[in-house]
Amino acid sequence: MVTSFSGIRFFCKEFAENLRRSPFVAVTHGLQVVISLMVLGFFVILMAFIGSFLFSLRNMVEVYAFLQTDLPAEKYAQIEEAIRQLPNVKELQYISREDALKRFSESYHIEVEDILEYNPLPPTYILRPVDVSKTEELAAQLEKLDGMWQVRYGRKEVASLMKVLLGVQVVFALTMLLLLSAAWSSVNNIIRMSVYSRRREIRIMQLVGATNSFIRWPFLLEGAFFGILGALVALLLIYLIGEAVYTLLQNLKIFLPTIVDKQAVFTLLALGLVVIGFLIGVVSSYTTANRFLGHELRRIEVMRRMEAEL
């Protein structure tokens, strides 16, 4: 652990000296982080739009529950109470027979009562489920209610939507994993180069009695610095490119539906990328430095194994 001011001063001095001494490594390191995080950022934005669009479709799933027409008034009240008790009901809307007739006439421009001389349409409840994947279950519960005539919903459409949503989630998770490992490995390579280029310092530090944690600190500092700086530059580029694309699409009169809050997505992305940049920088520096410092211990292990084999 670093407890002294002189230790911190040493790390900062070493860090600044390394940047000055090997600007090429520093620029390459920075660019690797920027490129990796920028690709990651654009992917997250794209998925946020696609995800929001698909999730907005979930809210459009409705279940129509048609009641029998010849029930006494108190029976309707009982049915409504029973529907409200069901666990998967988010919204409930009642359409009386008269309203249903009015809607029908407006939609099809036909006066049904003039033709049939009575209103054939049943009173209806329109429900929105809390969990779309359990729509079928909800429909079955409604069908069991006494006084229910018919329950309808887009069974096939809901099933397709659920499959697409699952597919999108899987693709998102796998691509995120791939992009994160790509970012991790590119940052790791640069840190390895940096550690290797400073092997002389590390050897001297070990010989004069620096602890491994002390030797590790400048690398952690470097990793954190490049992780955060890379994330900030990547965010700036994402913002500028994103705005340019948005303006271009608007100029081309291409319709852009407002399905996500741009500001909110960018704020979350900014937080996420800075945290990811910091974590990738620090963790990869830690593991790479450890691997290097562990050489000595590994050599000892190899020798002990040889001893056991002899």
Binding site: V2, T3, S4, S6, G7, R9, F10, E17, R21, R200, E201, R203, I204, M205, Q206, L207, V208, G209, A210, T211, N212, F214, I215, E296, L297, R299, I300, M303, R304, M306, E307, E309, L310
Partner: protein, 224 residues
């Protein structure tokens, strides 16, 4: 101060570096380790500062068996041991002052202590006028003096020198060994691994000969 008991070390199955080494070095002794290249001199030194661990035997340094030492204890052992090498192992981008100060900085020494000790030790090795020079601007002898200053600045109890005159001309070599003798007279145990016959013959001191990983002679004030 340093004790080897039946120590065996091999870097690979067919390359034994030390075989059954028994050796005892007392406090404040000045010892030459001599022998041909690859005979085991450097390996013996490396066992002392725990860069390698022998497969068999025990190595006691400061009354503690370093072969059983936990990795976290090694830095604290090395703070009491100064090591100098034939290739100097200096940082080319740092000045003479910076190279010596580095040994204190990595131990977290306060700035005040660094500012006091570094000029002192550089004056002691005769480099007080070269504080701001870079290693490349120095002669081989001066570079070795920087290396000695870096080893000394932590006030070690033991100083290990692995072929310290290997890259130096005879005259400069004598100067370096004289400096090591002066360090020894201040109370530091000094062990010098060398195959420089002239040096060993000139500075008569205890001489341990190692060949093919074995101690084949150990004589007080013996020559090469």
């Amino acid at each position: 101060m340093i004790r080897f008991i039946d120590v065996a070390l091999a870097y690979s199955r067919n390359a034994p570096a030390l075989r059954g080494v028994d050796l005892h070095i007392q406090k404040q002794e000045f010892v030459f380790l001599v022998g041909s290249t690859g005979g085991g001199k450097s390996s013996l030194l490396r066992c002392v500062y725990r860069e390698v661990v022998p497969q068999a035997g025990k190595v006691f340094v400061f009354r503690k068996d370093v072969t059983k030492m936990a990795p976290r204890e090694i830095p604290f052992l090395r703070r009491r041991i100064g090591v100098i090498f034939q290739d100097f192992l200096l940082l080319p981008q740092k000045t003479v002052y910076g190279n010596v100060a580095y040994a204190l900085e990595v131990r977290g020494a306060p700035l005040k202590v660094i500012r006091q000790l570094v000029p002192e030790v550089l004056e002691w090795v005769g480099l007080s006028r070269k504080l701001k020079s870079l290693p490349d601007e120095l002669s081989g002898g001066e570079q070795q003096r920087v290396c000695i200053a870096r080893a000394l600045v932590n006030k070690p109890d033991i100083l290990l020198a692995d072929e310290p005159t290997g890259n130096l001309d005879p005259e400069t070599s004598v100067g370096i060994v004289e400096l090591l003798r002066r360090i020894n007279t201040r109370g530091t145990t000094v062990v010098v691994a060398t195959h420089d016959e002239n040096i060993v013959n000139q500075f008569r001191s205890r001489t341990v000969r190692i060949e093919h990983g074995k101690v084949i002679s150990d004589r007080d004030e013996g020559g090469y």
